[in-house]
């Protein structure tokens, strides 16, 4: 049962204004931020993911839902900071060095955020050194790398090597994705997982965390 049915519906329908209003109303009625996330927002994004897998929703619906979810999170974050509440899992995400495409990465980031993970987005054209620095500083459990171009895919391997060299590889699970990327390639370069789409990426992160 969703803590706020209005918030759940607003996210499912990709309506940012309604999500914002529903969050304000729920907070005014005494709902706690983490409760709203776990009981309304995460279930809504799970349903969005299910509809995507069923080919009833498409990428635009994922993004609208993500936008609605963020409009709610924007209200909740300051309250969580003030009360010392934290999301349990941290994910660092970025498009690899030499690649400026960030749409796929943004969709995955949005879905992960909507599923209750704290997402640290390093942006596009992220060097291996920057990934290493982010893992050192942020101490995430998961690193997600994206590449759209065949010419930039080798930077995924370079980044994994850089994490190994820095002695950080065993601290994180590394996931890769992007149009030319395959499961075979993930195995070849020593990544822990590959996801074909944003919705599946959420499931993959959950599975990897459960295994850890």
């Amino acid at each position: 049962m969703a803590q706020s049915k209005e918030l759940y519906d607003a996210i499912l329908n990709g309506d940012a204004k309604k999500a914002h209003a529903a969050t304000e109303a729920a907070l005014a009625a005494g709902a706690l931020p983490l409760q709203l996330i776990s009981e309304s927002m995460v279930p809504a994004m799970d349903e969005v993911g299910r509809l995507f897998e069923a080919e009833e929703y498409f990428v635009p619906e994922l993004l609208l839902a993500g936008r609605a979810m963020r409009s709610a999170l924007d209200l909740l974050r300051p309250l969580m900071t003030a009360s010392g509440e934290k999301l349990s899992t941290k994910v660092v995400i970025g498009t690899v060095k030499g690649d400026l495409h960030d749409i796929g990465k943004n969709i995955v980031g949005s879905m992960l955020e909507g599923s209750g993970f704290e997402v640290i987005d390093l942006g596009a054209d992220v060097s291996p050194e920057k990934f290493v620095a982010a893992v050192e500083e942020q101490k995430p459990q998961i690193v997600c790398m994206s590449a759209l171009l065949t010419v930039t895919m080798p930077a995924m391997k370079t980044t994994i090597k850089a994490l190994e060299t820095a002695g950080l590889r065993t601290r994180v699970k590394v996931l890769i994705g992007g149009a030319p990327v395959t499961m075979q390639y993930a195995k070849e370069i020593g990544a822990d997982g590959y996801s074909e789409n944003a919705s599946a990426a959420v499931g993959l992160v959950r599975n990897l965390l459960a295994e850890a």
Binding site: V59, L63, L100, L149, P180, Y185
Partner: protein
Amino acid sequence: MDRKYYLDLAARGLRMPIGTDLVMHEESEPEKVRNDGEALARVIERAARRWGTPLAVPLMDLRLEKIDLLALAGISATDAETYHFGSPLDEATLTRMCGEQAVPVCAGSLARDEALAYIGTRPDLVPVGMAIGPFSLTTRLLADPITLAALAGSGVEAEDSEDVQLLWQCLRVSEAAVLRSVRSQIRNGAKAIMICEPTACSAFISPRQLKAGSNLFERLVMEPNLRLKAALEEAGCDLIFHDCGELIDLMVEAFAHRLHPVILSLGSSRKLWEDARLVPKDVVLYGNLPSKSFYSDGAMPVEEVVRRTEELVTNMKACGHPHIVGSECDVLFVPNAQDTIREKVDAMMSGAIAV
């Protein structure tokens, strides 16, 4: 040219990759070739001759029109690739960016045009131009184009949202930019132009919204491309339409029937022998072997390329639709994978000849 010319190429069993990038990377300094008209022309010619095609296709460099367009807004070529508009444009900027008289300024565009002029002097080659499509250029001008398109598709109008206003403004300046590029290429001898609209697909335009009655695909994709097609027709230049994105049938049908290109090039997510029912018989289908995976022997071993080529050739012969065997997109150079990519292009060129 006569549409029959392309139908004859298909009837003769022409096969060709879009492979100029591969050939360019055989040069000692490929990135210099990109901006050197004479050197680029030689590479384009060599690519056409290597694969025995009269269609001399340039690089599929879809950055050029954006660089030329943003130059009109005072943004340098260096910054152009990562630049996105964040708020609605003022009228003066819009007018400047839509100006008909602007000419290409970026080195890659100038080289492309110079190469076209050179190819025009080779009597056995057809100078083919290349441009990004208006919608795909629009998506490159925005940081979050899918969300903005989805907002527009949900019924939000420009008057209600600055984001949606910006989307329509970007489409307007993009159409003008593509038109300028196309006209410049025609002035330099292009007889056909490949318009590439890879983002005119279900990842950017929601089939759910279309099913619910949205006219978004019409407004964002078809209307500007129909005007582009009319401009090409007026200049006697043929349209080759390329879209390797994930498409739904109504998109394929609209491209095939309403844009009515001489060649329709689709990505490997489509089964061309099934798409043949959506495409008029006087439109040659091109493609669509999964060349984006050629770099990987694991994902796409050469045996699989041979198998898919045989399947494609057999099924296209069975359905009787004019077809040129080819790649799903441009076959890009990948460091340390050039040999396996070439092997697979060779397999595509020779597989199932006897069928």
